[in-house]
Every structure is written in structure tokens, then in C-alpha cells.
Symmetry: C2
Subunit: 163 residues, 2 copies
């Protein structure tokens, strides 16, 4: 355990309380990290997320977009890529001929397994930067906030004072 701490990047004290800024920095770090972890598999973190959600159940494209948190037109591009790579395919839904189910191909399943290994390792690396007792709390907190609605927040600014 190194006592000497890397101080190359000065922690800007004034921004330490800025929750939005902190999240932005950490988000960028995790994105670079996950992108690197998935590079060999030639998929991006987003493609991985879509593929993972698709494997979890038989979802239509609009469902998938809602679940992963993407615009439906943004999902289109990702799905085109995944289909092109042979990792997923659109299957007609008999009960509604407008809709399509996104299915994961065997190749996609195989890739997801390999991706899980890489991402588990990557996550462990990131969490290792935290004190042991903070890790599980951090993941739990993130999970809770990730499922939060705008509506769940107290209307701090919606009730702006009448001038």
C-alpha cells in the first residue's frame, strides 16, 4: 500500500462540492476505462449495454430504448452496428406486425460472456481506488440514483419564489 499519493492532478478544492462536476469527471474516467476494457472485443460500452438488455428479455426496440435510456433514433444506429457485426438481430413480432424483437445471436452471447470477464476486472480496478468499506456502498448508491426519476426529486427549483 503506497503511502505516497499521486498528486499530479490537484484536486480543485473549490469544485469538490460540485456534485455535477464530480460526476462528470468520474463518468469520463469510467467511460475511458470501459472503452479500453472492451476494445479487444470491438464493441463500445453502449453496444454492450444494449446487448445486455436485449439478452435479459424479449424486448421491442422502443422498450429497449427506454430501458437502456437512449433515444429511439440513437438506438437505431447501435442496432444497425450490432446486426452488421452478427451479434444481434431484429425478429418480427407476430402479435404486432409493426414491432420487432431484438434477439442476441449465439455470437452475441459468446461476446457478452467475454465482455463480462473484462468488465468485472475493470470494475474491480476502479473500485480498488476506494476504501474497502466504501465500495459496496458506492455501488448501491449508484444503483439507487440510476433508477431515480426526475419526479422523485424534491421540487427545489420548480417552486421558485414569486417576485
Amino acid at each position: 500500500m503506497a503511502v505516497t499519493v499521486r498528486q499530479e492532478t490537484d484536486p480543485p478544492e473549490a469544485l469538490a462540492d460540485d456534485l455535477c462536476w464530480l460526476m462528470g469527471r468520474v463518468n469520463a474516467l469510467l467511460n475511458r476505462e470501459a472503452t479500453a476494457a472492451l476494445r479487444e472485443l470491438e464493441i463500445t460500452p453502449r453496444k454492450h449495454a444494449v446487448l445486455t438488455a436485449a439478452r435479459a428479455g424479449e424486448h421491442t426496440q422502443t422498450d429497449l430504448a427506454r430501458i437502456v435510456g437512449l433515444d429511439k433514433t440513437t438506438l437505431m444506429v447501435t442496432l444497425d452496428h450490432l446486426e452488421q457485426m452478427g451479434l444481434a438481430e431484429r425478429r418480427p413480432l407476430p402479435s404486432d406486425r409493426r414491432a420487432r424483437i431484438v434477439a442476441v445471436t449465439p455470437a452475441g452471447e459468446q461476446l457478452l460472456d467475454r465482455a463480462e470477464t473484462a468488465l468485472t476486472q475493470s470494475r474491480a480496478g476502479v473500485l480498488s481506488l476506494l476504501p474497502v468499506d466504501e465500495r459496496v456502498v458506492f455501488m448501491h448508491a449508484l444503483g439507487r440514483l440510476a433508477c431515480a426519476h426526475e419526479d422523485d426529486l424534491p421540487a427545489c427549483c420548480a417552486s421558485s419564489l414569486p417576485d
Copy 2:
């Protein structure tokens, strides 16, 4: 019509372990939240971060870019806006006539004070979604990760950097 149920956003179980995806979702939430909190003041979260860092000390533009975590050309746009709004100004640095110090104007200081109130309220709202004992841990963990380097991570996959 379907009645709006709180279950619109199902916590997608399969993605609950995806650290990168979780951060992306939470980051998006906090961005919307901070943007809303700062809307009345007519500045974006990024402008606020730059202004805050500028107030913290006499920094040149390249320093400021490094501290806040922006590309220097990206910072240019933000600084142009801040200067246009009369919140900050570029001042020549006598010791190095190439460089410029970014200074916060009185109007900028005043705005920062009002912003702090709004953001403190906003942050409290977000943290209120977490169990009481998780809040301080969460902030601490974020602060630690925000200061982390790529190099601090165990080299799990980082053997090959992009080009």
C-alpha cells in the same frame, strides 16, 4: 391511455452491475438537475465550474482547462460566453505576455454566490434519495474517483493505448 405509473423505469437487473452504464445514467440525471437549478441564473453547469475554478485562484487559461478537465479550445467558447455576459474577463499576465489570467468580475462573484445556494439545494435533493448513512460515503467516494488518474488503475487492459 395508460396511466403514468412509477414503474416506467424498471431497474434493468442485467445492467445493475454495469458500472459504466450506471454512471452514465446518474451523470445524465445530475446534469439535468444542475442545469435546471442554474437555469434562472442563465449559466450552464460547465460555465459554473469554470467560474468557480477561476475564483479559486489566479489561473491562466491552460491551467484552467487542465483543472476543470476541458480541452483548451472547448474552454475558449465557454470563456467567450462568460466574458460576453460580464461574469469573467481575461487579464494580461505581466510576467508572461503570452498568457492570460482569467478573473471573475464582481457580477460573476455575485452570481457564484447565488449559484451556490441553488446547487446546495439541488445536491441535497439528490442525496435525499440515498439512505442517510450512504450520503457522506458517496460524496467521499466520488471525490476520490474524480481525482484519480488513468495511471492509478491497475493495468488490467491498458497495455495498449490508442495509437
